[in-house]
Symmetry: C2
Subunit: 212 residues, 2 copies
């Protein structure tokens, strides 16, 4: 057997130096939300087993998105140009802005359908605990947009959490007298987060929106 004749005098870790690239990959994967060290190991092993049909295409696609994805300068949505697909589309109504905390909430709204206006992604919520003030979010930019774009309605689609509702009240106060401010109403459970709701619930809440 040839393997016994191979000279290997490196002072190596238990598993061997050929594992270091794999370990580095596992460490990076473990930084994804929802994956710990153990599930990252399983994911990497799965990828290696399917390295031709899954791992290589995934790496290529990930690099492509890393190179092209960027935040829309108007609304904060993710797109590939200065303006996202929604802001760049002539088909989306002007004068109606749906305010969300995060891009994942925008995606949830789009999956639900029913909203034909444009968006504004705050990038979080006001938080006394975490010292997040209006200037740390896209709130000044929202107020500017309301003035510049002759906005007649701002729909607050913020999470039904304490911070989400604090943020809704703050924005509502700031926009008082400038445009109508409504919020998603029926169907959003207390403490619920938009991204975890079914599409029908979001649609119903949108239709039943009320003045704040």
């Amino acid at each position: 057997m040839g393997f016994r004749l191979i000279s290997n005098c490196r002072s190596e870790p238990i598993v061997g130096e050929d594992r270091q690239d794999i370990e580095a990959l596992i460490d990076l994967m473990a930084r994804l939300p929802g994956l710990g060290p153990r599930s990252a190991r399983r994911a990497v092993l799965h990828l290696i087993k399917k390295r031709g049909r899954l791992m290589s295409p995934l790496a290529t696609q990930m690099q492509l998105v890393a190179d092209t994805a960027r935040e829309c300068i108007t609304c904060g949505n993710i797109g590939t140009g200065d303006l996202c697909g929604i802001c760049a589309s002539e088909k989306r109504a002007i004068g109606e802005i749906c305010v969300v905390e995060d891009v994942s909430d925008l995606w949830a709204m789009e999956r639900a359908g029913g909203f034909k206006g444009r968006y504004h992604v705050l990038g979080g919520t006001l938080s006394a605990l975490d010292a997040v003030g209006p200037e740390d979010l896209r709130i000044p930019a929202l107020i500017q947009r309301v003035m510049d774009e002759q906005v007649h309605e701002v729909i607050l689609a913020l999470n039904a959490t304490v911070d989400g509702q604090t943020t809704a009240h703050y924005i509502s106060d700031e926009l008082a007298g400038r445009c109508a401010v409504t919020s998603l109403a029926q169907g959003v459970p207390i403490g619920g987060e938009l991204d975890y709701l079914d599409d029908g619930t979001i649609s119903a809440a949108l239709k039943a929106r009320k003045s704040v």
Copy 2:
């Protein structure tokens, strides 16, 4: 505002064509074990937010591993050459082979430490239900190794499942008279899978191994 002047006559999906690369990435990510469509979306959004410091390095490392990782021709472990780091190491004892179902189990054994011999990765277990026979696994190659390498002990570190134990009995029968066959004993809970055990449990089971 410039965005209202931009002409965009594409007949586009709701979210815009600039989402198609991101959707393709989400679809690929959703094929990882432990990630569904929703967690894949969250993971991709997290990556896009950290596209410089996490997404790009992850894509690069994933491509590197996809290009270099391969199965060891001797034991089935993952490495970067014909032989894995363990088979290529002079420091690992010859004549003692630990048989595992999967590479993840080999990694678990190595994390636990205490075993200084070499491995043999079966690539699964015998299964009447799934029609997996000895020829579908690395069992013939194991028997060949036992003869070629003057192996004096084969340690069966198979999962304590029905299929794992069926496989252990089969291998034990095949190797009867050729070498000692032992198995991990104390500490492996019924129905337990190696990769989910703590390192101490695996170490104890290794030390208390018994003849089959």
